[in-house]
């Protein structure tokens, strides 16, 4: 029952996964024909998939050269982090206009706990998964579906860089502390504190990542 989807959508998902997992070399060009064959489709569905990914900013369709896998440049990533940070600030502020439900606080605490344990086990993948989950729950508190969608798309953009650098950078111990602090602030309904901590969190993460990106990219 799952294979009933359009071929172009399957290609879209596969191709995105290939880019996000760095299976396609960043900064390289791939011909439409090649990719189409590799994914078992003709040029038409591949092209439609590529157009959607181009809109998402992952690649660029360059006439006569091929499909260009866009590198993650430090200055762009810095801008994206700035936007992400503000969107989360918005979400937190909106969320705090009403007292945050205890059940949601509990969810956040559980996830934050998972992160601490994952870190103790040196399981960075699980840590990253829960990091994503934490921010999804946090932003979900806003109940603004447009905002949630938007944050998700920005999170995915930064995810590429995070995954690329996850095993290079220092263990994210401070992140865990900051998450706990955010939860505490939410419990008290202290919007300003929650926002402040989250912004600092993002700002630091942005700095660390862009520094690494500058090293990785010529």
């Amino acid at each position: 029952m799952t294979k009933k989807n359009k071929l172009s959508s399957q290609v879209f998902l596969k191709l995105r996964r290939m880019v996000l997992d760095n299976e396609l070399k960043v900064g390289s060009y791939y011909l439409e024909q090649e990719l189409a064959e590799q994914l078992g489709a003709s040029r038409t569905p591949l092209r439609e998939a590529a157009i959607r990914l181009e809109q998402e900013g992952l690649l660029e369709i360059v006439p006569r050269r091929g499909i260009f896998i866009k590198p993650i440049l430090a200055p762009e990533m810095s801008e994206i982090y700035q936007v992400l940070s503000w969107l989360e600030t918005a979400a937190i502020t909106i969320a705090c206009q009403q007292p945050v439900k205890a059940s949601k606080i509990a969810e956040l605490e559980a996830v934050a706990d998972n992160m601490i344990k994952a870190l103790e086990n040196n399981d960075l993948d699980t840590w990253a998964e829960n990091d994503t989950r934490f921010h999804q729950i946090l932003v979900g508190l806003s109940n603004n579906s447009e905002l949630i969608r938007l944050v998700n798309s920005y999170w995915e953009k930064t995810n590429r860089a995070r995954m690329l650098t996850l095993r290079i950078r220092n263990p994210p111990v401070r992140s865990s502390q900051e998450h706990s602090q955010v939860i505490e602030a939410l419990k008290k309904g202290d919007v300003e504190a929650a926002v402040k901590i989250n912004s600092q969190h993002r700002s630091r993460a942005s700095g660390e990542l862009t520094d690494l990106l500058e090293v990785l990219n010529p």
Copy 2:
């Protein structure tokens, strides 16, 4: 010399304009063939354009029914305004981290002036044009190109509703006052005041528009 751009891009721009200007009836379905012929292209470029517009959320490609022009529902518009408001808040705050250049202030004042004059002449189209310009300059102050792009796309989304209601709603006199107040706050570097006024501005506009949308849509 006419632009020798790709046909699919021309179709993309034309089709988007048609949707944003409400030339295509919101809530209706249009067949690919029809639209292609109407725009002087074959189905392929039309399809590629439609895919991009679907990603932007303006329409939906529904198998065997046609291309569905998404209606502007009041609850969604309310969410979109909330996001827009926050993005502008972000832009203003970032902009104010350094003193705003006098030349930019002058630009804003000129545009605000145009708006007042247009209103005196009952020229709502010119008023709306300058309203757009005002917010473009305002957001441009942030120097964050990602943020600028994002705000533009949200502005266009709200634009659809604004244009639909421009001649129905009361003359936007208060908007002009609010714009002047924002400029004053920027001059003084009073971030908080500028943000506060702008948020109120958006909040009021959002309320007015969503009320009208509820009346317009069954």
